[in-house]
Every structure is written in structure tokens, then in C-alpha cells.
Symmetry: C2
Subunit: 373 residues, 2 copies
């Protein structure tokens, strides 16, 4: 398991979290620059094992909320997550002990380290999605009803701040937070999901920062060795490469605080077509019109030659890509979870048919087996 | 000046505030029912003279925010303003001493009395508009920059609550609060504009609750005496009846948290036409295409026979109406004020040409002269 994150770990994490982000989670390159800046100033960030947490450790989740398409145009100020944390601490009247990860995808894998460094707190190697999802209620931290998204705090790059002391449900929290993010220019820093160590141990998807790091290292090695990088990445995640081709169409709109649209990939030879709908993240893939994968299973796009992640906001005509499908972590596939992250939660009248194979996610035994990767 | 508001005062205030509300401020009938309920349970509400406030009295403003068209479909729970106040007190860490009025229009003239009764606090006979306006920054309390809309709190009829601890500007506060109101179903209770007695004395438009009450009493007397009620109301406000006719068209949409649209009135005889644009409140009136009045001057619609106020959400084809124009209070006509409440602030490329005549608003000397009304 990762025990700290230094400068050399940033690029592997950016690649790994970029792939796990299924198109979303915020632009990993921009997150990398911020994280690099903080580590250069303050030294490596301490990462702690979720299973070693005290039961009463006070934990906060931080992350960016908004549309990834906006994040590359409207840059962040750099202390959004810290300021959101401080607003929430002021509201609660006590300080936090550690920061956990909202989603391991994209730059949201890095914000908890950036905020941790700024606040002098460790980051916990656990997240609530094992990937990225577009909405707040889509988090394993919340599925069993003991942890709530609110109270939460949001800030923008300027002087605007909002606290939601109470929301009727987590879906209400999402609805309000999304409109607030829109008010803030479709981009804001969020701190919330206040929980104890005991609650995180029970609900988190653990060791996903380590997984992202390992995945990135494996991709970098495969790039150097001129291996089939997409294939190597898929294997490491127990997934497979379902399609290779050229992006032939991108229909995209930034609406109601999300980047929504459809990307079409044409096979290099023949008339095969893969079409993927997205809402910040890739949600459903159709191969010549038939569903081949849906949320919560992961649909990841990487560049065909180098296996670098291609996120929603970077999709463009002509890019040669490989599409990976990867079975989701078990915690996203329970009945309770599927109500929030299954295809019907996104408006698709399709049953969830889990991809075959073992779920991603590394638990301590697996970790030990993989230490020589 | 009014010293308390009992059951018999409700109907006069509803009429007066309905007229002063220039179409907005929330449905006065529904506000009346709530106020009646509270007074019946708890006794009359104490009204205090703004000029008698101690300089360090801690004052809060409460009011409904949203679209009037929604308020008559989605009824309130009844304690929205009190709960918003309590959220704000919890955020600030101290209790308030008195409640002032955001806007004297419609039901927002009554909410500060309802909340005052529920909290055991007096209501101050002063508001920030001397009428109603659709947006937060359009308040005399804010024009000189010493009082801010945020921190503010908002709640809905259910369990959702939001605090805005800080906004970059009052226009940012409006932008965020409006989107939050939309999230809450285009209707929410708001508490904010925290200020001291000294600040209220300097910035408020005083004795407008008394003015609304007097205006209502005068209308009721004119109704009983079968006088020309619209004419009587106009005279009392130093305004005039500019048009009489039948509503021939209403174009209306509830959008982005506002009721927006245009109402057209055809004269009873001849081809004259008066057209009025509204955004919750009536903003600009065109007589056969020429501007006859604009914000901040008041454009009021009343029923032609009985002089009862006709608000935005009650506009409908065939109603016989009289249209009044009334000069705005002085505090809305300064250069600083017009940046927020002049026609250009609403997107009309028209200079503000104040209506002739003395401004409404009653100050103590006038009050004494009018005590036998």
C-alpha cells in the first residue's frame, strides 16, 4: 500500500485515476499541476490505511463538483477544498482529523491530497466510488444510510461560500449542490460526507489510491516496453478491451452543471461502431446498437497507442482510442447501491447485467501479491 | 403609526401591501391566512418605530423568495421564516432582537410579523423597498454598502436548509439564492441582511407597514362609499390612474425562479392599449408603445370596480382593471439606488424619468397629519 505520495507518484496516479475515472472526476493534468505545486512546497503527503483508522477519527470528504468541460476553461484558485473544509469545520464547531476521497477518478483523486497538505492532515486510501460518478448520492459511503452528504460546504474561486446544514435526502443534497455549482460557474469545491473512522471502514472502497498508482506504474512500464498498453491496463483491472477505433463524432453540451453527450467510435476496419453516452462519466456503451456495458461497471477510453486516459472534456474527432470495460467493485453492485448507480438511476430502461470477471478493488491480501508489480 | 397588528388589521394590510407590491411580494391572501392563524393563537404582533431602535439592536430581515406563480400552487409549511432565522442565529452564534421587512409588497409584508410572533420578537415598521422588487440586491438596506445580504439562510417546506456565510457581492448572493430557491421548488423562506439598529435607521424606508395599513383602510372605506376606488388609492399615494380597461392578453412563464411575462390591457372604448412587462413585479408600462412608467416608480394593477390589488399570479384574461403609476420613495431614486433598481438594471435601454409628484412614504410629520384617515 502507498504510505506517502511524493513528486514521482503524481504521474502514475494521474494515469491510473484518469482511467478509473471513466471520463470524469475532473481533468487529471490540471489536478497534477496543483498537487505537484503543493508537494514541492510542503513535502510528500501522508497516506493512511483505512483499516488502521480509529473508530472515532473525524473524517471529511473533499472534491470538485461541476462540469469537467468547464474545469479546463475556468481554472481553480487552488485552495477551494481547504476553504470548503474550513467552512464546514466552522459550521460543525470541531476540526477534522483526516481527509478521504470522494471519487478516485481524475483530479478528484488528487484534491484530498492537496487539501490534506494545505491543512496538515493525512489522506485516507479509500474512496466512495472506486471510479467516478456524476452525482453526490452515488457514493458507497451513503448507501447504507448512516452517513449523509450534508452538512456540506461549497466555495468557488472567489469569495462565495455556501453551507448546506441539512438536506431532506442525499438526492436533495445533490439537487441543491448542483444548482449552487451552476451559480458558481459550474465549478466549485465541496467538503462534506462527515463520518467517523468506523463508518469509513464499513462503507469505503478501500485502497483505490494505491490501485490507481499501481495501474499508472503498469501503464508507464508498458509504454516503455512498447506493449499493447490498453490490453495491459484492461488485464490489470480484470477487464477487457472491447473496441478500438477512431472517434467519428462527439455530441456534447454543458447543461445544468454537467457535461452531457454522446461519443461515437468507428472501428479501424469494417463498419463497426461503438457509441457511448456520458454525463460527466461514460454511462452506457452500445456496440452496433446493442448494450455491451452499463454503469456501475466501468467504461474507460484510452488512447489506442499509449493507453493514456481520455476524459469527457478531451474527446475530439479523429483521436484513435481503445475502449475498456471493467467490472465494478462489489460495493457498487448490491441491491441498495444499484438504486443509485444502476442504469435505471440514469434514466436508461435497461437492467444491469454485470460484466463477467472479478471485481476491481484491491484488498490487503491482493495487495501483498501485487507488491512486485 | 401602527403599534400592534391584530386580526382587524390584516385585511387592510393585505390590500395596501397588495397595491404597493406592484404585482409581487407573494400572494397577500395566503399570507393573510397564515398571519390570521398566528395572531389568533398568540395575540396581536407588536410593531416598533424604527427611529426608536437602539443603535446596537440586532435585526434580521425575513421574506419569501421564489416565483409568485408557484406560491399559490405549492403552499408553505408555515414556519419557513422562523426556521431560516434559527439557522442564521445558529450560524452567527447569537439571537436576533427584532425582525424587519424585506419588502412591503404582498405576503412579504406579513412574513416578518408571522416570524416575529413565532419567535416572540417585535416587527419593525420599515422595509428595504417601499414596494416589492424581484431580486435581493434591490434593497435600500444594501445600497450604501454597509449592510450585506449574506450571511443568509434559506429553508424549504421540508427538511432542506442552506446557509450562505459569504457572498462576493449582493448580486452574487442573489444568483446563488435564486438557484437555491429553484432547487427548493421555486419557493423558500429566507433570513438575512443582518444589521444593527443604527444601520436600519440610516437605510430603511420607514413606516411602510403603517402606510400599507392606511392605504388598505382608505380603500375599504372607498369601497363602502362606492367611490372611485382606484382614483382614491392613487391620490393617497400621490400617483394617478393612467389606464382603465380589460386584460386582453397574458403571456407568462415561470422560469429561473421568477414569474416573467407581459400583460396587455385594452381600453374599454377605443383602441388604446397598455402593455406591462413583469418579472415577479411590474417593471415597465407602454401606452400604445410609448413608455409611461418604469421601475423604480410603482406600476400597480387593481380591479377597476373595487380597487383590489391584482398580482402577477392572478392576472387573467377578461379582468377589468385600473392601472396606477406612483412615484417611488426617494431612497430608490438616488444614483446609487438606480444602478440596482433603474430600468437598465432590468435590461431596458431606457433612462429613468421619475414620475412627477411627491414620493410616497410617510415620515412622522406626515403621519401626524394623517392620523384621522
Amino acid at each position: 500500500m502507498l504510505h506517502e505520495v511524493g513528486l514521482d507518484d503524481i504521474r502514475p496516479i494521474a494515469i491510473g485515476a484518469g482511467i478509473l475515472g471513466t471520463g470524469g472526476g475532473g481533468n487529471p493534468y490540471l489536478g497534477s499541476l496543483q498537487l505537484r505545486n503543493e508537494i514541492a512546497r510542503r513535502g510528500p503527503q501522508k497516506i493512511i490505511n483505512p483499516m488502521h483508522l480509529d473508530d472515532d477519527t473525524r473524517i471529511v470528504i473533499v472534491g470538485g463538483i461541476g462540469a469537467p468541460t468547464v474545469s479546463i476553461e475556468k481554472l481553480s484558485e487552488g485552495t477551494e477544498m481547504l476553504r470548503a473544509m474550513r467552512r464546514l469545520e466552522a459550521h460543525l464547531g470541531y476540526p477534522f482529523d483526516a481527509v478521504a476521497i470522494a471519487e478516485i477518478g481524475g483530479s478528484n483523486s488528487m484534491h484530498p491530497m492537496i487539501a490534506g497538505l494545505q491543512a496538515g492532515l493525512p489522506t485516507i486510501d479509500s474512496d466512495g466510488m472506486g471510479r467516478a460518478f456524476p452525482e453526490i448520492q452515488m457514493s458507497s459511503f451513503l448507501f447504507d444510510g448512516a452517513v449523509f452528504a450534508a452538512p456540506l460546504a461549497m466555495v468557488d474561486a472567489g469569495d462565495n461560500a455556501i453551507v448546506i446544514p441539512q438536506a431532506a435526502t442525499n438526492i436533495w443534497a445533490e439537487r441543491m449542490a448542483r444548482n449552487i455549482a451552476v451559480s458558481m460557474g459550474a465549478r466549485a469545491g465541496l467538503a462534506g460526507f462527515v463520518m467517523t473512522g468506523a463508518q469509513l471502514k464499513a462503507t469505503g472502497i478501500h485502497y483505490t489510491l494505491t490501485l490507481a498508482h499501481r495501474l499508472g506504474l503498469r501503464v508507464i512500464r508498458a509504454q516503455r516496453d512498447r506493449d499493447d498498453v490498453p490490453q495491459v491496463a484492461a488485464e490489470m483491472l480484470s477487464g477487457r478491451v472491447v473496441f478500438r477505433g477512431k472517434i467519428s463524432d462527439v455530441e456534447r453540451r454543458t447543461t445544468k452543471g454537467f457535461a452531457r453527450g454522446t461519443v461515437t467510435v468507428q472501428s479501424f476496419v469494417g463498419d463497426d461502431e461503438l457509441r457511448i453516452d456520458f454525463q460527466n462519466e461514460f454511462l452506457i456503451a452500445y456496440h452496433n446498437g446493442s448494450v455491451v456495458a452499463t454503469v456501475p461497471d466501468l467504461i474507460c477510453i484510452v488512447t489506442d497507442e499509449t493507453g493514456e486516459p481520455v476524459s469527457t472534456e478531451m474527446l475530439r474527432y479523429g483521436v484513435r482510442v481503445a475502449v475498456l470495460t471493467v467490472p465494478a467493485p462489489q460495493k457498487l453492485k448490491t441491491e441498495a447501491a444499484l438504486r443509485f448507480v444502476g442504469p435505471r438511476a440514469f434514466g436508461y430502461d435497461v437492467a444491469f447485467r454485470p460484466l463477467p470477471g472479478e471485481s476491481i478493488g484491491i484488498e490487503p491480501p491482493t495487495l501483498e501479491l501485487q507488491t512486485n508489480q
